[in-house]
Subunit: 668 residues, 2 copies
Amino acid sequence: MNSQTAIRAVPEVAASEKDMANAIRALAMDAVQKANSGHPGMPMGMADVATVLFSRFINIDPGKSDWPDRDRFVLSAGHGSMLQYALHYLLGYADMPIDQLKAFRQLGSRTAGHPEHGHALGIETTTGPLGQGISTAVGMALAERMLAARHGADIVDHYTYVIAGDGCLQEGISHEAIDLAGHLKLNRLIVFWDDNSISIDGPTSLSTSMDQLARFKAAGWNVQKVDGHDMEAVAAAIETARQSDRPSLIACRTLIGKGAPNLQGSEKTHGAPLGDAEIAATRDNIGWPHASFEIPDAVLSAWREVAVRGQAARQAWERRLASSPQRLAFEQAIGAELPGTVFDALAAFRKTHVEQATKVATRKASEMALGVINDATDLTVGGSADLTGSNLTITKGMGTVAPGDYAGRYIHYGIREHGMAAAMNGIALHGGFIPYGGTFLCFADYARGAMRLSALMGQRVIYVMTHDSIGLGEDGPTHQPIEHLAMLRATPNLNVFRPADIVETAECWELALKSADRPSVLVLSRQNLPMLSQAHEDALPSGCGAYVLREPEGPRQVTLIATGSEVEIAVAAAERLHAEHGIAAAVVSMPCWELFEEQSPAYRKEVLGTAPRIAVEAAARHGWDRWIGDNGTFIGMTGFGASAPAPDLYRHFNITPEAVVEAARKLI
Amino acid sequence: MNSQTAIRAVPEVAASEKDMANAIRALAMDAVQKANSGHPGMPMGMADVATVLFSRFINIDPGKSDWPDRDRFVLSAGHGSMLQYALHYLLGYADMPIDQLKAFRQLGSRTAGHPEHGHALGIETTTGPLGQGISTAVGMALAERMLAARHGADIVDHYTYVIAGDGCLQEGISHEAIDLAGHLKLNRLIVFWDDNSISIDGPTSLSTSMDQLARFKAAGWNVQKVDGHDMEAVAAAIETARQSDRPSLIACRTLIGKGAPNLQGSEKTHGAPLGDAEIAATRDNIGWPHASFEIPDAVLSAWREVAVRGQAARQAWERRLASSPQRLAFEQAIGAELPGTVFDALAAFRKTHVEQATKVATRKASEMALGVINDATDLTVGGSADLTGSNLTITKGMGTVAPGDYAGRYIHYGIREHGMAAAMNGIALHGGFIPYGGTFLCFADYARGAMRLSALMGQRVIYVMTHDSIGLGEDGPTHQPIEHLAMLRATPNLNVFRPADIVETAECWELALKSADRPSVLVLSRQNLPMLSQAHEDALPSGCGAYVLREPEGPRQVTLIATGSEVEIAVAAAERLHAEHGIAAAVVSMPCWELFEEQSPAYRKEVLGTAPRIAVEAAARHGWDRWIGDNGTFIGMTGFGASAPAPDLYRHFNITPEAVVEAARKLI
């Protein structure tokens, strides 16, 4: 168990790697101490594994951290962020000087509490919420195989390495991820499990008796177990894993806080500074006489050599790409720039259907729009969490991704909403594709953790969420979303689209595709909806978030605001208000609150008008007061739904044109 | 694979059981056909297993469906609800006459699309969202062991049986549940896996290669595999499972839609009616000449005998209870009625701390209140998803639940928020305990699916969610809730409490304990908060949802509304407005929106006042327009958080007394 035993066997190489690992330990404990906040235990425990991985295997180039064929490194145990920041400093990332480590967890520093994608170079994904990293990595490893299938091993040929902790493996999402990875034989995925038998509450034996190796083996993984402080054993395991035809788990038996003489092996090193005395004792214990944040030149040079190896690999790759017949196609894919023909085709599609007054469910409209989109570009990659025939997410000729066969464009994600969302994050982060995936809106609940990360990372992931209200009917309240629109709309940096007809659906698809810096959710009906748009427009009215769909002849007496399937109800109510009561009602369709919020106050005022307002949405009121104002009325759900045919439910819950008419007459 | 082979071996008994199973098949296919909606495949596939289970093993009494020591049956594959309704009709549940089956999935019927607890007698838990049933059952099986440890096997001695499908086992939550159950050796839990190799998209081989038996074995389960149409094999497996010292999985190889000659084995039977022709062919094929919804007397009698056996078991149990020295204690536990001493002690606690002006984080205040509560009653059972030292959910002398030792009151749920929430649902549904469990508020995301079911089922489950805002500081945006309060407040039938000091925290705990018909979420700060309450009151001001904490001397010029840690900011702003600008500002503390919404309009008007309003909450604005009105101002978060010490973050995001003062001056 003592790393020094192994090190003595091959002194020249190992002595240097031992120092390299101790540099990580020292930086981690010193930075956490200075911040008086953070997690030293994991970086110290996994320093040996990380050193072997980076010094001997990983191909990354700190000078060009977004080189497409680089290996991906994911710190799934994100609380050990100082491992990553120490590595980045040691490897010479330009944005990670020692001062950044000294500013660990301080306002404005790049060294955030948990690694954040986009916050510092080379952070492949945001981690911290446990289990997300390993699950996102599955998407990266899948994207790599899919891109290789399209452009060849000469230019796409890299590994995805993950460090995961006990927490990652206990979280349910890990089950979805490893099952999918094992099934699809994602053999470029190599996961190191920091098997230190410690979680926050104490020994892991307080809460689990899982045989993780047997578990991963059951999921079709190659599994190995090593002493995580035996560098040669770790290296041999990585070699073996790289040759496997399956994804690999390497269980690394480690001591948390390794090196701290009095605290190693204890949960006390997990999430708190070691304290000055123990840090001094650790320096003695590991033979690290250097001052805080000081790394000797020899150690730094050893680390910088790793970067040189990566640079050479990157340059060799660039030469291969330059002479590859795939060059243009690859660059277009990696740029993920959609050709204008996609949007031309969507415009023609909208024109055709408004003229034909096509009446379909918006989930069906989405399928039809996807047919156009998927024909016009290869960038889109679809899927569903085992609801393909309900979400209508597959289109003709996509081809299915299958174990060992990655040429297709459609992924059967299985009954795994959370795993799907995380995999889509990984696909988007990897580059080369625009992922979309379907489930019922209600099961956004299951995917929440990863959906939030889509938003936090600003990734173009498109969620196709059908069966969006009581309109789904008989499946009942467990399947009927009530609070879900509020949950999604309250999430920052996420566009939530709820289109009212096939034209708006195509517009919302276009807006989602063009939103390269954020995820989108398309919220779609199960039931048929009539054509409400009245004429073709080149501009996208949905792009303003809300717009006046029906303006009455005289001055407005009431404004009816609705989304999705309830716009039909608002239009019917407006017609009856006019015909039966001589009341002038405008109808506003509001497919996207977020985009409406971004419009000018003048535009918003114009759309909302000064007349009293009524909102109609078959969901919770929460949030609607923003638009209806002090004297407004909301017509929607006040509790959970029920099981019955959809028309019965709309009547039962009083979400009808009659109810709107009555509310309008009361209001004015 | 043909069930008739086994049946021929023991003709008298088995012939009858074959008919009993076919009765389920017929009722399921007929009811789905009549509703033109539903899932016939699972009930037909699992009819043989269900018949063996109910006819030979399960102890339930349809005449007294809530008898505490009954076996629990959970249909985790809830889409197969017709299996349960058919069983209930056949067993003679008074609320399930044949007319209910004829009204399957219709408005007002008890035969909802998915089984709903409280909707019909004997439905132990609401299922439909996949994986919830099996995970809730873990809580039931744990509660059984815990109750048995307290009151003895003489009066607590029952099994929890689960039918789960491929979907249940693919969902991540199943991993959390089976790991916990295996670890705790919950040997009264027996799960039948409907191993039919079919999911909605087609064969399960489209998305999984999991060796489920190896997986469950890795989690410490007893595993068996049988032909699910071989009734004797199923019975033998159940016998073996009942003797195991571990939870048991019985993989039942079945044909989905078994009996339908042209469709069995196909995903086409999963979620759609078979059609009249195939139903007629099925009648021929299984030898069931009876008309739709008609069950011959002989078959019905055979089923009713099962109920008689259950009735006898119940009566024997009642005799044992009547003569047990544990009787009183058991009845108090099962009634879950809290003694008044709990609330007396909480009142004294509040009085002491308001007098001492105790300044603590509300998570600490919660721990202190829990100390009082847990001393005064044994009903509470606590736990945390591996954040015990952060959530502060354990109190002195609780004792820990451990494998084979169920005398303790504290559960180390592991890093399993979703599994914890579902287990708490199961504990509450089982009866005998009031469960509470902790995690960070941000990780409500992970538990959403089960939390929604707490609300839908109206169960007294108490979520202790700490680290409730940017106030958690350095961990950064992945750990800082923004949209979570909106997500929870938008959920029907859920009380969300965000107390401002130790007094409000104790009040909110009392309100949560008294809310027997709904779950509660206690949203608590990491950081210290001052005493804001000014004098002891016997009544609970928090019980009104919101109340005036500070009324200015003159007429109000502005009303500041805040919750939790931001009430301190509002109070400081009010003092400065008065002292520096002579502005009369009231401060409203609003710990619970839901309870405030339930007050009279007059009370609400009085609290909110007519002066302009400013709300302060370190979270998303979404929903706040309800309280601030058209001319109000919101001071809070507009995007994700950041990693830094908490005071820096409050300044950075401009959630400060200065910002409130400035907004107030602008507003008036």
